[in-house]
Symmetry: C2
Subunit: 351 residues, 2 copies
């Protein structure tokens, strides 16, 4: 028979963090594209815009005035999906009409006072301050809330409605679906194999080197073997770390460094400020702080939507929504791509 | 304390088909939108375009010439994600690097010879022919393949790259993630409650009438209690039916009728040819034909992306990808919306 070649022959790969499969059909990249083309990101964003509610000194929707902040700046989302005091819906006892109370808090965090920078364009010290603030927020909100989700939607294509560099932090009184699934998968793996899933995974990838995008003595960024988005990456520390606030000073500096390198590579791939949604997953907090969570390992997921160019994205639609995620190139192809190796400095660098 | 009001107070709802939760934060519809605006669908599509590979008589990418078809027309996808004869990837025995063979077949089905019609604009008899062909394909491909996924990506926003009315049919030698999850949920429910989950659900909704969008003596379309997309609907027969090819002649006519009514409502909602991804889920086939699948109930899911208007969609991004799906209006609000009741004829009707 014919010899198997991942770039030519469709196959399934297992995602051990979600207990599900992805269909890899790399030969599909050959099909011509006549569908929707996205608007490329805006290129000329002013450093300060007096109408932008995220800029220092400006007034927000609720009438509050931002301080003249010089580093990061955190405030409560003016249109929060989670509020601390919503009443309980009560309960229709029917198993097909179940509801539950949801309480929490939504914060917005500006990364920098300037609107015309992104994380890869910031100085290393500035990135360290972002990381320190992430850690503080997990410490503070995680004291009571079981889950604190830090996430960044970057680019209009990813639903981001403000070009000023920022992320969001939503803390909830429940463990959301995705971390609940990841928690279960990591726990079951630990019970079976006696070591944390992601620690073993990082070790394997560091050895294989087939999917490593950037690495340093304490961090590793790989396109996971089970990636669903074309240029998805998983960023994780080499030392066993449960939560972002457990990172040492050196590890935070190392993280600033590797984030800058990873995001610069992304920007260089299609020579555009790369859109993505990213977020941190660490061991649950609040009541879970008292439990043994040593099966957990801190990591960030980067989910970028682009497939072919700065303006052609991957559509996760019909088959993906109704049956299973499908990808059009192998996870190894980002690593092998000529385009995204070599350049160490973002072409988009402005300072 | 304050009285709970679903339109004001965030809460969680349980999706019994996916064993997961959705965060309903209806008060978020009040937030202003300054983000990405989509291109509205093209309005002037020619009935026949000699460069369109889906039109009757035209030549496709592989050099084959389409017949002068007058009703539906089925052919094999020229760039299939699944092929019948891909070799086996073999297996790295490590639990974190698992792969499996994937084999199958991808077909494309044109609904009509004209490019300027959509399902709600077609005659009832024409819709019946589409339904009959769906049933034939499930019968034929389901004889051997365990899963036959019929799906339609409608509109450029949903990754559809050809305006000619068509759907796809992907049959696979594996049960994909979504039907596997749905299969498990329906089985567990049946074991516990002694009746099919969706049959009981249809009965409850027909009584409550809070979320029914359109109904007839043999069909029901509801915004499910656990809907994640703003205007998501679930279409299902009232009689217990396992697969689309089990529908009687009368039920197929009834389906043509209710599809026309449902899709006309969609088109009228924002006065635009409504984009969506839809697909059918029925009991598994192939080797599963010999099993007892009576816990299954045939249904179609409609997942439309729009939120506020013809050009502002819901972004399922950061929080949704990393934590949990979140919606900005209650599932009851479509039903209550003035805009989408009353009109029985699509404004877009052209014949
Ligand atoms: O097969 P098509 O229509 O070219 O492609 C479309 O539907 C597929 C199945 O949902 C997706 O994988 C593609 O991303 C999308 O563009
Ligand atoms: O909160 P934002 O940035 O206005 O909104 C964005 O992120 C949210 C969280 O992922 C999503 O629910 C919204 O659909 C998206 O537009």
């Amino acid at each position: 028979g014919v010899q198997f070649d991942a770039r030519e022959h469709q196959h399934l790969r297992y995602n051990p963090l979600r207990d599900s499969w992805v269909l890899v059909s790399a030969h599909r990249m050959k099909r011509p594209w006549a569908g929707q083309v996205e608007k490329p990101p805006e290129e000329h964003i002013p450093r300060y815009d007096r109408r932008n509610p995220l800029c220092p000194g400006n007034t927000r929707a609720n009438g509050e005035e931002n301080p003249d902040y010089e580093s990061t700046f955190v405030f409560e989302n003016d249109f929060p999906a989670l509020q601390p005091d919503a009443p309980d819906p009560g309960s229709d006892q029917h198993p097909l009409f179940q509801s539950k109370a949801a309480r929490g808090i939504c914060k917005v965090m500006c990364f920098h006072p300037w609107s015309d920078v992104t994380l890869p364009l910031m100085k290393k010290e500035e990135l360290v301050r972002v990381i320190d603030k992430w850690a503080d927020l997990v410490e503070e909100l995680g004291a009571t809330y079981p889950w604190v989700q830090i996430f960044e939607n970057k680019g209009a294509m990813m639903g981001c409605s403000n070009p000023h560099p920022h992320c969001q932090v939503w803390a909830s009184n429940f463990l959301p679906n995705e971390p609940a699934l990841s928690d279960r998968c990591q726990r079951v793996y630990y019970e079976k194999h006696g070591e944390p899933l992601l620690l073993e995974y990082a070790r394997q990838e560091a050895e294989k080197k087939e999917r490593v995008v950037v690495e340093s003595s304490d961090w590793l960024a790989v396109v996971p073997y089970w990636a669903t988005w074309p240029y998805q990456t998983l960023l994780l520390p080499r030392r066993h770390v449960l939560r972002i606030n457990d990172l040492t000073t050196e590890e935070r500096e190392g993280l600033a460094d590797i984030m800058k390198r990873l995001l610069t590579k992304y920007d260089n791939l299609f020579e555009v400020s790369f859109p993505y949604s990213m977020g941190w997953h660490g061991a649950p907090t609040g009541p879970h702080l008292k439990e043994n969570n040593s099966y957990w390992h801190l990591h960030a997921h980067y989910y970028p939507p682009l497939l072919r160019s700065a303006t052609v994205k991957k559509f996760m639609v019909g088959y993906e929504m109704l049956a299973q995620e499908q990808r059009d190139l192998t996870p190894e192809q980002l690593r092998q791509g000529e385009k995204c190796t070599g350049k160490q400095e973002s072409k988009l660098r402005i300072d």
